[in-house]
Subunit: 294 residues, 2 copies
């Protein structure tokens, strides 16, 4: 099912663990990034490594490895797992200060990684028909408390919102900011198409690599694009809605808060972006093939 | 150094770990509580167990154990550790949904516990002279995002604030809400004495058991008390300031933002409360002796 890198060793994912005393767990004092492998090749490894190093710096965490060394560890996890499509996570935790100390600066930071089968945020049926997403009244943790541009595991708001949406029969959830603009969901950014213009939030959310890919695809395809606040009501009234995520690329949304988006089927621009997203996986600038023979 | 309860087994704390795939780590989807042991007896075990069960319910986590069963596991951790003074943590995590699912409702929740040597938030010198605390401009995660009354590991804001305070030469940090009221610090509530009245925030913070103990002591000692917003400027101008925490009880603060509080020494009311806090450990209503012989 997968292979992890823990304490300098490669181990089966089923036996991979972290010390219960690691502040990465006891204080969620950690950062991470996820890069995917599709058809035997990493997609946009450089962008993920660059963001991971930036996240580490933001939280004053030191993985003790160069990006090239991390890339080699991730490759080895995938190689040993034999997976041709994989969800590959790199993690840096605070570790633990000496007993008795509560000074994070005295902790030896830890690096972990694992490769598991590719994670889809939406199943095949949902990807075909489009997702039903609810807008939650749980507000995403604001940037004045936790910088959303540096990846972190502070997901309680996303998890509580997701539970509410699942209970109500929806597939997933979008959270709002204090002003009622949608910002992001559990593991994805959001876009809508209104009057032929692509709109995506530009504050209060993670700057997803998949979001960046959509922005670049829009530019390449000549689609007008606006990065700005996206009020929940504008989303509900949009012609098309989709999510961007490493867990499946471009995922169509055809219902928001139990009301159909457009005519309730996957829109033309969304379909074009889904197609382009997977086509770009063949672009050598974005693709890093794994040599499984080593 | 301590004993943990992991996957139904008692193990040395140094070998206690949680699966890397537990959402308690990967999404900080967990709750916890900490009860202390002093002089061979738990202090206010009932209050901590009651809050732990309430926190579990709030996050829809099920430890799969009754409070009495949890109490027995915690006692056994302490017993096996031999510690007469101990910091005892109980934890419930989401666990992991079946591979491929992202539905938290399908996960089998996990219970963990450990007993380690008593953790002091302030060392002996700091407890004698009083702590120097900085008011951070990092805002505590608001209740509109994460309910602060249910314990959680969302500490990035507290950790980043703490790092800033330590860098500036202070001992610890207090975070504010969006309106500039102080709310809490990493592991403690805050009180001040202004014109003979005890004041402590009543929103945006954890309802600490030590905070509750201070409130009860104030009532018992006939000290006037107000639970209300506490602007940072009022704290800075207070006659006395102290923290309440399971990591040391009542901890005097004699400097805030590099300015002395009162005459810069530990105040009379603070001293009275420190003394009463430890005296109350002998109260049989609050004390649960551990039979180490079993």
């Amino acid at each position: 099912m997968g292979v992890a890198f823990v304490a300098g060793q490669y181990v089966p994912i089923s036996s991979a663990s972290i010390p219960i005393t690691d502040w990465g767990f006891l204080r969620s004092d950690a950062t991470y990034d996820v890069v995917t492998v599709w058809d035997g090749a990493f997609f946009r490894m450089d962008a993920h490594l660059e963001r991971f190093m930036r996240s580490c710096q933001r939280w004053r965490l030191d993985p003790g490895l160069t990006p090239a060394q991390i890339a080699e560890i991730l490759s080895q996890c995938v190689r040993l797992s034999g997976l041709r499509s994989s969800y590959v996570e790199m993690i840096c935790t605070r570790g633990q200060p000496p007993w008795g100390s509560r000074d994070p600066r005295l902790a030896l930071n830890q690096f972990y990684a694992f490769a598991v089968p590719y994670v889809w945020i939406a199943n095949e049926q949902q990807r075909g028909a489009g997702l039903h997403v609810m807008v939650s009244d749980v507000q995403r943790i604001p940037a004045t408390s936790v910088d959303p541009s540096a990846k972190n595991y502070h997901w309680n708001d996303l998890t509580m919102g997701l539970l509410g949406a699942l209970d109500a029969g929806a597939d997933s959830v979008l959270l709002v900011d204090a002003a009622g603009n949608v910002v992001e969901g559990p593991g994805f950014n959001v876009f809508c198409v209104s009057h032929g213009v692509l709109v995506t939030p530009n504050a209060g959310m993670l700057e997803g690599v998949s979001r960046r890919t959509v922005i670049e695809m829009a530019q390449s395809l000549g689609l007008p694009l606006q990065l700005r606040d996206l009020p929940a009501d504008e989303l509900r009234a949009a012609d098309e809605v989709f999510l961007s995520t490493s867990g499946g690329g471009v995922l169509p949304v055809t219902m928001v808060d139990q009301r159909a988006i457009g005519d309730g089927t996957v829109g033309a621009i969304t379909r074009q972006l889904v197609q382009t997203y997977w086509a770009w996986h063949k672009n050598p600038a974005y693709s890093l093939a794994i040599d499984y023979a080593l």
